[in-house]
Symmetry: C2
Subunit: 65 residues, 2 copies
């Protein structure tokens, strides 16, 4: 997994005073990985459509529309 369990736990803990299960941290990591992959894939496609060799911030923005 790209995102560590400890970082995911930290992110959930920062949202309230709850305990955080290992599996919830793992689930959040998986969700983020899927989401990030989808956005990145779409951004690459946008850069390609525009005939560019480089992915720019605007491609990430466009990928989210």
């Amino acid at each position: 997994m790209e995102f560590s369990i400890s970082k995911m736990k930290e992110m959930i803990k920062s949202q309230g005073d709850k305990r955080v299960s290992e599996d919830s941290a793992e689930k959040l990591g998986n969700v983020l990985e899927t989401f990030a992959g989808d956005v990145a894939e779409e951004a690459v496609a946008v850069a390609k459509e525009n005939g560019r060799k480089t992915v720019r911030a605007e491609d990430i923005k466009e990928a989210l529309r």
Copy 2:
């Protein structure tokens, strides 16, 4: 930022044979941070609604519905 520029670059690069600008990696990191924070916040709220002290994987799933 929670997510390193180098990790974000790597994720975008893995989706194709494009070069990846610094600002696109930063943008993706910001997007992920916002998304993760929103999901985590909602998951904490779900756990609270269900009277639990611990956030579980099911709360992450519920937060995405």
